[in-house]
């Protein structure tokens, strides 16, 4: 696989995973928020 495509796909994958983690953490406080 070309270098640029590999880098782009891995970066995109990590950003999606971190984004999903942040979203889930944020949602986890909705019901119990002070």
């Amino acid at each position: 696989m070309p270098l640029g495509l590999t880098v782009s796909l891995v970066v995109l994958g990590v950003v999606v995973v971190v984004g999903a983690a942040g979203y889930l953490i944020d949602k986890s406080v909705d019901r119990g928020d002070q």
């Binding site: 880098v7 891995v10 970066v11 971190v18 986890s28 002070q34």
Partner: protein, 323 residues
């Protein structure tokens, strides 16, 4: 004081500090005390930060005890085994990874305790399980570190591991390092992610700190507090990618002065975050409130520290000699 002194000074904190934090966690869980649980989580976070400095000072300590002319050469000193040093490095890298995950979940627990007044069961269970695993791995890494300079306490298997024949096996940490160096896509990928993590971290820090300093007074602090996990996720991305750089080529960072300052500033900036997570003063800032001077000083120092981290990172090849 050189890096060997720093490593010797710091290397007892992960194991002993971890034991203290675990003891507090058990007492807090058995006695159902949120104060003890909070203290335990704060100690775990502090120890996980100190472990970063402990790990990165290890290569300087290696150079002090093993003056081999080339990286692949055996140590010329009697009783100092390269194989045992590399075994210690590998055990330390695994223990380090678990320690940082424990620290991250400990911070999340502190954030949740402030936010929803309790630590969710899943988080507490995860921290307990990770604490036990981290302590076992840290004990293994500490034991391997002690064997390097103390042949009198080596077991039969450790004596075998110290033999030149064992040195021919590629140890885990060096394997990770050569994996990063062998694949051309890993370094640019990590650089890109390092900058994304940096933007996330600095963006959140700037918004929170500017509010405390007196801008956007219409926003209550509690609303901005909700953004903190995003900043910590950015820090996590930077820790993983930064450690991959370090493990791949520790020689270009160990004696680099901007790198040493960067680590000091990272630790101070991360401790600064604790103020905005658990202290009452910022949390009580309602819409329109002006923060007290102490909170403003902490916010200003946080901005200074984060900018300092970025400056030192950028100056690695210019004021230092990396790359």
């Amino acid at each position: 004081m050189d890096l060997a002194h720093v490593h010797l000074l710091l290397n007892h904190f992960p194991a002993i500090g971890g034991l203290i934090a675990f003891g507090l966690l058990l007492l807090g869980t058995v006695g159902n005390s949120d104060d003890l649980k909070r203290a335990s989580l704060a100690v775990w976070l502090g120890i996980s930060l100190l472990t970063i400095a402990t790990y990165v000072s290890g290569n300087g300590a290696e150079e002090a005890v093993c003056k081999a002319a080339a990286a692949e050469d055996p140590c010329p000193e009697r009783d100092v085994s390269k194989a045992l040093i590399q075994e210690h490095e590998s055990a330390a890298l695994v223990a380090f990874a678990f320690m940082e995950i424990t620290g991250a979940l400990a911070w999340l627990g502190l954030w949740q305790l402030r936010r929803v007044r309790r630590i969710p069961g899943w988080n507490l269970t995860a921290v307990v399980l990770l604490s036990v695993t981290t302590l076992v791995l840290m004990a293994k890494a500490s034991g391997a570190g002690g064997d390097i300079r103390h042949p009198e306490i080596r077991s039969a298997s450790e004596k075998a591991a110290a033999s030149p024949a064992a040195a021919s096996e590629v140890p885990f940490a060096r394997g990770v390092g050569s994996f990063v160096m062998r694949h051309t896509w890993i370094w640019p990928t990590c650089e890109t992610l390092h900058f994304i993590g940096l933007c996330l971290l600095f963006g959140i820090a700037a918004v929170v700190d500017f509010r405390v300093l007196g801008m956007m007074k219409g926003a209550p602090f509690a609303a901005l507090h909700r953004l903190l996990p995003w900043g910590v996720l950015g820090f996590g991305v930077n820790l993983v990618t930064g450690m991959l750089f370090f493990v791949a080529d520790p020689g270009q960072y160990t004696h680099n002065v901007p790198f040493q300052w960067k680590i000091v500033l990272v630790l101070l900036a991360a401790l600064n975050l604790l103020y905005f997570t658990i202290f009452d003063t910022p949390w009580l800032l309602e819409s329109g409130d002006d923060a007290p001077v102490t909170a403003k000083l902490v916010a200003a120092s946080a901005l200074f520290l984060v900018v300092g981290v970025m400056f030192c990172g950028r100056m690695l090849p210019f004021l230092g000699d990396s790359f």
